[in-house]
Symmetry: C2
Subunit: 417 residues, 2 copies
């Protein structure tokens, strides 16, 4: 509707009566026959366009990107944390026409809906953007990293970033490489929208606020439900965490390492030593022309040439087993590397360490110049290759950087393995 923006308060007169509420975003291309407004009761109603007689704007959209909760005065005995909102299910509600879920809550609404937060810390909030995380692009990682750094500079004791769950692992890895932080930086989200009784949003937020305000932790972590019931959440290292289920509340798991700890209403229990001494450093240099290529039987070698032609500077191959691809690709991989493209290898098994010394396949790939990514997650290796290529294009230095453990992404090989 021209002249109206999502967030505007409107009065709509229909053939059946009047409705007053906030005009909601309708991102579906599929349905341009309804408008949806959120009533003061909190419910959304969809109104068919052909039933509308008149629309009046009562109040233009209130844009409050930055705010401080004011129900209580700042309590000097409590720590200060910033909650930075980026969208996702945690900021969503069910659409009662379609049964679908879409973005609805601002950071302020989201935080206001969980009064327990103010018992834990003094809360400030800020909306960075409002996106489902499948729409997040590397540029957004940089925005989040910059905003986080600027909040830390203002002197807060911890940061909570609310984020969609789909690509949270990629963002947490990106932040882990881009940010050295003196305070906890906690990403959290929800697998069920915040207006459902079964939502995991409130507890994930509360647990995240506990970690952000109370943990002696200077790194980027993800805090999400540790089991399907509302008992505890796990604190996952930012470069080691992966969404391993489409829908379960405990979908997030630490891979090839252990969670840093667990958090419940009783407090935080560390399972291993967290980092607790970092100076703030922001380093967002990123090379965007990097491709994450999952290998599969039948993958035509032409694809490698093609990525080179398209101007990619780096490729992470998610290979098979210990870090393999078909020998049919060797020549193209060699040509790509000879032409200046950096190629790194992870495994689609998810768990375990790449070892390219055992089989001839791996040894040849190493001889050609492929960099074995140790026990890094494919998603983390992809983000890391972007970040490393943002810093150097020299082969020796790039290899050295890829094999250096910057943010907990590599475990040193143990003898027992």
């Amino acid at each position: 509707m021209p002249g109206y923006k999502p967030g505007d308060k409107v009065e709509i007169e229909t053939v059946d009566g009047k409705y007053t509420g906030i005009l909601m975003e309708r991102p579906e291309l599929a349905d341009d026959k309804h408008v949806v407004i959120k009533l003061e009761s909190g419910y959304n109603v969809g109104i068919s366009l052909d039933r509308i007689r008149e629309i009046k704007k009562i109040e233009a959209r209130i844009k409050r990107e930055r705010f401080r909760l004011k129900r209580h005065k700042r309590d000097p005995s409590k720590r200060d944390i910033s909650i930075l909102a980026t969208g996702g299910t945690i900021a969503s509600r069910v659409d009662y026409i379609t049964g679908g879920v879409h973005s609805a809550f601002s950071a302020e609404e989201l935080i206001s809906a969980v009064p327990e937060l103010e018992e834990i810390a003094n809360i400030q909030g800020r909306q960075i953007f409002n996106k489902f995380s499948e729409n997040i692009i590397p540029e957004d990682w940089i925005k989040i990293a910059r905003t986080t750094a600027s909040e830390i500079k203002k002197g807060v004791d911890g940061i909570v970033i609310t984020h969609g769950t789909d690509t949270m692992g990629y963002t947490s890895a990106a932040l882990a490489f881009m940010l050295k932080t003196p305070v906890p930086v906690v990403l959290t989200g929800a697998q069920r929208s915040s207006d459902r009784g079964s939502s995991d949003a409130p507890l994930n937020l509360i647990h995240s606020a506990i970690v952000a305000s109370k943990a002696d932790l200077s790194e980027v972590v993800v805090v999400m439900h540790g089991e399907i019931s509302d008992s505890f959440s796990l604190i996952h290292p930012g470069t080691r965490v992966r969404k391993l289920h489409t829908s379960r509340r405990d979908a997030f798991r630490t891979v090839n390492s252990r969670p840093l700890g667990r958090v419940s209403m009783k407090g935080i229990e560390f399972l291993r030593e967290p980092k607790s001494d970092n100076k703030l450093k922001l380093d967002t240099k990123l090379e965007e022309r990097v491709f994450l290529l999952k290998y599969f039987p039948g993958l035509n070698p032409e694809v490698i040439d093609n990525l080179v032609e398209l101007g990619y500077n780096g490729i992470v191959i998610e290979g098979t087993g210990l870090g393999h691809t078909s020998e049919l690709l060797f020549e193209r991989i060699k040509d790509a590397i000879d032409s200046g493209v950096f190629i790194a290898m992870t495994s689609q098994t998810i768990f375990g360490r790449v070892n390219m010394n055992v089989y001839s396949t791996g040894r040849i790939l190493q001889d050609i110049g492929v960099i074995p990514c140790e026990d890094m997650l494919s998603e983390t290796a992809y983000v890391k290759l972007m970040w490393c290529l943002g810093h150097t294009k020299k082969p020796e230095r790039l290899r050295e950087m890829m094999l250096t453990n910057y943010a907990g992404e590599i475990t040193e090989r143990s003898r027992i393995e």
Copy 2:
């Protein structure tokens, strides 16, 4: 060495003395300065070319692609099984120069090395080819399916296929779609080469032979170690199994379902009802221009156009969460579908079911024509799309086939979910 083939029995006179043994394959591009022969003791030695004075061929390579073990006579009280060898670690040994592992054993050697097999069944063997499984291409799946069908026609009671572990899940899915089988078809392999004390090869072979000869089972399964010790193996459904660790002996897991059962020296224990009534049917039609595309933040939409230009007829997108990609891809995906390319969606979370009705992202993608692959593994969906496209290019029929449960690859949605 011109004039000599791997498998030839040779006598090599060096500056230090004479060696007699079988000339081994040296697949490494890296090292053309040594030959390797297998001595009668079973050990491999590497001999530097510049130390060789003379080589004599004692016996040309004995090619025995088909054989029957003859140490015992056929025991009419036992069932007959065929062991079909395709290569992989199970048929490999350590190379004591490089520490690497490469192909060494023929089917006959492999089977002869496990005398327990003849206690279980009457064994015939056949070498289909000898490849590490990362080198297996869809054409090889067809070869394996055809050989398996022809063995079944000869009247054997069960089939064991030895195979590399890297892409075993893809092959088992392919065989499950291509073969209706009245007898057990069991794929097995090893995570440690057969000449090591710690090898899982003998027990995997023995357990597979037990399943092939004794189970009332008419489907394609994978039998591999169920835990790291040599206690039991799991019987995984062929379309549900995934290698989930680079190196552990119990790397194979059933995903989004339960194993069919477990097998140990005590016998078989079924955990759920296996299929036990099928007539032999071989249907190997396959469309090879299918791509498995893992989504990642920053994936440039140009890649979709590019795959269309390269002539791909199908793309399985391994999306995020419930089956999503960035909205930046929607237009290109729509163009691709409009131009006749079939696009199906799975999730990179591995576990859980795709549900494209919850979020606008999923609903739009469905409206555009993307086929949601329910709780199918990405690898299985890729193989299935190839197989379905081998049978129809009609959109309605293709969609119907993709959503039909042909080989246990889809579980009906339960209410509890």
